[in-house]
């Protein structure tokens, strides 16, 4: 790789950090105001109590827990995928990993807020944390909510490390490229990176360890989130399939979220030369796999319920299949399977546009899926006299919208501060011998020719 190419990479990828258009400020202002509205809604809820939300007896969980599960699910995009791709040494991963790992960290942060937002007495949330209190009471370790605390905090720590480790060389690069206060900040963040062989070796080793360790953590996190439901004797919650179902759904929605993020980055930051249709193709294939897996799990879950014909479960079953929640259910099936499947399965359609359309419907569909897991079961619990229906209230809707704005804002700010594609990894990739088979190379060339 020649110096010109390196310069170009540096220039292209550091450009967003150096140039700021008025659109950036407009976007930040817009997102910021949405988030402030959401924060205002939360303050309103804090001062009035959950009386302002739509939850009721006996549907005590709804939008907030839906958001919780959804965002924890989205978080599976990054770290898990990036770790797997690293482990199998898929070279095409290089431009993808960082934008994926960022999603994980931010989605986890947002998701982890919801258990607190939804509390009746959120000011006492720290009772969920095991700390030596004067009352000598520890959290109840039998409670899946306590497991949640450990799972999420572990995952958040791990994925933050996983994100930050490979940025260190890039921080060093920026330290060297930037001037003034930025140089100072990046200098601190670079942790004294000099690019010595020893440092490279340690980084590689650390990344290897993290990549191996984070996979089981990620799988366990969403399994434990599923335990919040499947540990209760609630119709259609109490299911053995929930662990893998949740993990599959999480990766599914995560990849969809990643594809959307990549498409937006590619467009706005003009990264067409780095994020190729190949990346969307490959992720599209993964998404197809997950869509099939999701469809399989959904089918299995429904079939076993229907065949088992337990009266309490059947009440929930019919309510989602043909009853009040049926429109949502079938929208979900359309969004998660019927629309994405052809778009992803037919090679001609598996373009950037195709995968983006599929991903958009999947993100919507997976949010609905989370909602359909949480609410209908509570609305149709064992004693029909207590059946009820849920209507979200403005606070819940505003806070939900605000989380999407928060995700976008955090992502935008991150992309403003850190190159969203790992510069050093990209450069390393260019030195590497081609890993593609001749056939693949041919294909790739084909694709590059069709590049707009």
């Amino acid at each position: 790789m020649d110096l010109a190419t390196e310069r170009k990479i540096n220039h292209d990828l550091l450009r967003p950090l150096r140039q700021t258009s008025v659109w950036f400020f407009l976007l930040v202002a817009l997102l910021g105001s949405i988030i402030l509205t959401g924060a205002g809604a939360w303050l309103y809820q804090l001062s009035n109590g959950l009386v302002v939300a739509g939850i009721r007896w006996p549907i005590f969980w709804a939008f907030y827990i839906t958001n919780f599960v959804f965002w924890i699910g989205i978080s599976h995009a990054g770290t898990l995928i990036s770790a797997i791709l690293r482990l199998v040494n898929a070279t095409w991963r290089r431009p993808v990993t960082r934008c994926a790992e960022v999603i994980t960290v931010f989605a986890l942060m947002i998701g982890a807020m919801f258990p607190i937002i939804h509390l009746g007495r959120p000011w006492l949330f720290f009772w969920l944390i095991p700390y030596p209190s004067e009352r000598q009471i520890w959290p109840n370790m039998r409670s899946p909510l306590a497991w949640d605390f450990f799972a999420i905090s572990t995952y958040l720590t791990g994925s933050t490390l996983f994100l930050l480790l490979p940025i260190i060389p890039d921080f060093a690069l920026m330290r060297d490229q930037m001037t003034g206060w930025r140089k100072k900040i990046y200098g601190v963040l670079a942790l004294g990176w000099q690019g010595t062989t020893k440092q490279w070796h340690r980084l590689e080793a650390a990344m290897q360890i993290m990549a191996i360790a984070i996979v089981p953590v990620a799988v366990s996190v969403h399994t434990i989130v599923s335990f919040d439901f499947s540990m209760s004797p609630v119709p259609m919650w109490h299911s053995t399939v929930f662990g893998p179902y949740f993990v599959a759904g999480a990766i599914f929605s995560g990849i969809a979220g990643l594809i959307l993020a990549m498409a937006v980055l590619r467009k706005i930051l003009h990264l067409e030369e780095y994020l190729h249709p190949l990346h969307f193709q490959n992720l599209g294939k993964l998404l197809l796999l997950m869509s099939l897996l999701w469809g399989y799990f959904t089918f299995v879950e429904r079939l076993t319920t229907w065949y088992g014909n337990n009266s309490a479960e059947m009440a929930v079953f019919w309510e989602t299949q043909t009853g009040a929640y049926a429109p949502l259910f079938w929208t979900m099936v359309f969004c998660n399977f019927i629309i994405p499947f052809p778009l992803l399965a037919i090679r001609k359609l598996r373009t950037i546009t195709g995968t983006v359309i599929a991903s958009s419907t999947i993100v919507v569909g997976m949010w609905i899926e989370r909602f359909l897991i949480v609410v209908p079961s509570l609305a149709r619990k064992n004693l029909p006299y207590t059946w009820a229906s849920y209507r979200p209230q403005p606070v819940e809707i505003l806070i939900t919208i605000a989380t999407f704005a928060a995700m976008t804002l955090l992502y935008t700010l991150f992309a403003k501060a850190v190159p969203i594609i790992s510069i050093w990894e990209l450069k390393v990739g260019m030195h590497a011998p081609p890993l593609l088979t001749p056939e693949e190379q041919e294909q790739q060339r084909e694709l590059w020719r069709t590049r707009p």
Binding site: N309, N310, S311, A312, M314, A315, W318, P384, Y385, T386, W387, A388
Partner: protein, 739 residues
């Protein structure tokens, strides 16, 4: 110092510190001397009597001390006093034996109600706009006395009218004596769901003008024609106690219960067999059963005695009432009728009862007489497991006793409508009755009252009627007063219960009994009443006058001789008549007493507003029950707005399709639809009484409140106005049965 003490002390110092620290008005309040000798934190139980319905259940109130802001001699201040915390049934009371119904347990809210009238009020605006100003008791009593003196001066004593809620106790007796001494006509009584038709029937059949008492604990078969005896009718707690024993009190012998009605009541929901019947045909069904029994030969017509002789054709074995014929008229299959008759005659002791809509038809008296004859035929009158008449419980039925405006017995078929009775009054005293709300519009009670020169109410609350008055002299709540009651049913023995106040008054109210006595003394020509206070009267026991009203059951003939009952002759069945053409008004309209709010007199209690209705689970709402298939046919779903129109007017109310109601019936609970009755009831729901036609029972002249026909129109989609506590009407849906 133990934990309790610590908490007490810290709570005390804490509250004092709070009081001292902020600029609360409480800080400036003076402290009165404690009014009660109660050990803090220690509960004492004091007896009283539930005032909510005439059943007269004995209650005990748990009294604990508390700090209360009160007015004493015009001065606001804090005092420590005993406060009634909870009401329970009095275990020593023979009627309710320690139990209490859902309404009775909410009765303490009357005392603590935020919208209670705490001072004498004088009308400030024009009549009807509901504006009052607070005045002193001196001024208030002075004004009333002046009005009465003016009547006496003009020799218009008979222009003083008094309207009461039917009440069996000394309070009514005192007011009656007051009226008599003053020279006024005897007080009128008014209550929407009164039982005068039934009392009349019992007087005719058995010589007892009173409500029956049932020995359900000993019954093995109970056949009820529309009587909501487990919910709201007669003496529900006593009847519930008996019912429980009938079902499971005797090992191996479970009594069977059959309910005949056309809208399933909470009582009907408990029946082993629920038998729908055409409105007004209950008597025919009873006679059909009697006919089958007599035909079988197990009982003879003569067994029914005089009660049978009141039915045309009885002596001949009711030949017209063949099972087939009765089946056609009532809608009850002939085979079922024959089986029921067989069971009824074989399962002894068996008893029948009738009440509610079955006697609120134009032929209500006939229906009641038919059921009475059936009981007499089975020998179920006065025998274990049968029907009794409580000693000392008979109610006056002839001029001279408190007349009921609804079914005045002054003379049959010669009843003056309520508004006629009141029209000429110069001064009207109202105690407990709310006829503006609880009488059909056609009676024009509001218009009549608006015309009257001077009206005084003793109510605790401003309701539709007391909003029209000139002066409100608020009563103590029952917990703050001496109370006395002589119920007419509910136990086999005669009962007089009395109790001292449970607690000191919260407001500047005065016991109505004392006010009446005070007024009697203050008149220019004081009335001679032998008591200074109501307490004295209660302690003196039932007066000779009241005692005289206790009939001697041993001498019915003598009684009959004293008061010959017009119409001891046999009665022919007459088709029930309904107001409204059946083609135009396709539905029978059934207002029924709400389990929580009764006739609406309890709609001001939030505890009862929030009590889920046993059948619909509705709270804080009005609704109209309609048959499920009918609703489906008309495209009506739960909560959809209906317009219910009778010849008298239209109300709008959300629909509640239910499986337990005949296809041509619309039923509505009474109780809501108050225009003016505290913050909890005002403007909530619709009042079914307002569209009732003034149809009367043909012989007694009592309001036939189940004889109005209506039409319904679906006018709007459900909008959440109908608030249901619960979800599904049914257990797991039958379309997805479990294996």
């Amino acid at each position: 110092m133990d934990r309790r003490q610590f908490i007490k002390i810290s709570a005390f110092t804490g509250s004092s510190a709070t009081l001292a620290s902020c600029g609360n008005p409480e800080y400036h309040l003076i402290r009165f001397v404690p009014e009660d000798r109660i050990v803090p934190g220690t509960a004492v139980w004091r007896p009283s009597i539930c005032p909510l319905c005439p059943a007269g259940c004995g209650v005990i109130a748990r009294v604990m001390d508390g700090e209360v802001e009160v007015l004493r001699n015009g001065q606001l201040g804090l005092t420590r006093m005993g406060l009634a915390k909870k009401l329970e049934g009095n275990p020593d009371h023979p009627i309710n034996q320690g139990k209490l119904c859902t309404r009775g347990q909410a009765a303490a809210e009357i005392t603590y109600h935020p919208d209670r009238v705490g001072h004498p009020l004088k009308r400030a605006g024009t009549r009807g706009d509901g504006k009052f100003e607070e005045i002193s008791w001196e001024q208030a009593l002075g004004e009333l006395v002046a009005k009465l003196d003016a009547l006496a001066a003009a020799n218009d004593q008979n222009k003083l009218a008094i309207l009461l809620r039917p009440e069996r106790g000394l309070r009514g007796e005192l007011i009656r004596q007051f009226a008599t001494r003053f020279g006024a006509p005897v007080p009128l009584t008014y209550e929407f769901f009164d039982d005068d038709v039934l009392r009349r029937a019992n007087a005719l059949s058995f010589g007892n003008h009173q409500l029956p008492t049932f020995d359900l604990a000993e019954s093995r078969y109970l056949l009820s024609f529309g009587a909501d005896f487990l919910g709201t009718w007669n003496s529900p707690v006593a009847q519930n106690i008996g019912y429980g024993e009938m079902r499971q009190g005797r090992p191996g012998s479970r009594g069977k219960f059959v309910q005949v009605e056309y809208r399933m009541s909470q009582t009907g929901a408990n029946a082993d067999e629920w038998v729908p019947v055409k409105p007004g045909m209950e008597g025919v069904l009873a006679l059909g059963i009697a006919q089958v029994i007599m035909k079988s030969g197990s009982r003879r017509a003569g067994d029914a005695g005089p009660a049978g002789m009141l039915i045309d054709g009885w002596a001949g074995g009711l030949a017209e009432y063949t099972a087939q014929e009765v089946s056609k008229r009532t809608g009850v299959p002939a085979a079922r009728l024959e089986r029921l008759a067989k069971e009824f005659s074989e399962q002894k002791p068996a008893v029948a009862m009738i009440a509610g809509a079955a006697v609120a038809q134009t032929n209500g008296l006939f229906n009641a007489l038919a059921v009475n004859a059936l009981n007499a035929l089975m020998g179920s009158v006065g025998t274990p497991g049968g029907v009794f008449f409580m000693q000392g419980g008979a109610q006056e039925d002839i001029a001279g006793g408190p007349r009921s405006a609804n079914a005045t017995a002054r003379s049959l078929n010669d009843r003056q409508p309520l508004q006629e009775e009141l029209r000429d009054a110069q001064v009207l005293l109202i105690d407990g009755a709310n006829p503006v709300y609880a009488a059909p519009r056609a009676w024009k009670v509001r218009e009549t009252l608006t015309q009257l020169p001077y009206i005084v109410s003793f109510g605790n609350f401003i309701d539709e009627t007391s909003a029209l008055v000139d002066l409100i002299l608020p009563d103590h709540s029952f917990l703050e007063s001496w109370v006395q009651s002589m119920p007419e049913s509910g136990a086999k023995t005669a009962i007089v219960s009395m109790a001292a106040p449970v607690m000191q008054p919260l407001h500047e109210t005065r016991a109505t009994g004392d006010v009446i006595l005070d007024v009697a003394r203050r008149l220019r020509k004081p009335l001679e009443l032998p008591w200074k206070t109501f307490e004295e009267m209660v302690k003196a026991g039932p007066s000779p006058a009241a005692a005289k009203r206790v009939p001697d059951r041993a001498k019915p003939q003598e009684k009959a001789a004293r008061r010959p009952l017009p119409g001891g002759e046999a009665r022919k069945f007459a088709e029930p008549q309904f107001n409204g053409d059946a083609n135009e008004y396709g539905f029978h309209f059934l207002p029924y007493p709400s389990q929580a709010l009764l006739d609406g007199s309890l709609a001001h209690l939030p505890l009862l507003q929030e009590l889920p209705d046993p059948m619909s689970s509705a709270v804080w709402s009005s609704w109209a029950e309609i048959n499920m298939q009918t609703a489906e046919r008309l495209g009506i779903r739960q909560g959809d707005w209906l317009e219910i129109t009778s010849s008298q007017g239209t109300i709008r109310v959300p629909a509640f399709p239910s499986p337990g109601i005949a296809p041509d019936v619309v039923a509505m609970p009474t109780g809501q639809g108050h225009e003016n009755f505290t913050r909890y009831a005002t403007g909530r729901g619709a009042n079914p009484i307002s569209i009732l036609a003034p149809v009367v029972e043909s012989e007694t002249g009592a309001l036939a409140w189940a004889a109005t026909r209506v039409k319904i129109t679906r006018v709007a989609d459900a909008d959440g106005t109908l608030v249901l506590f619960a979800g599904s009407l049914r257990d797991y849906p039958p379309e997805h049965p479990h294996r």
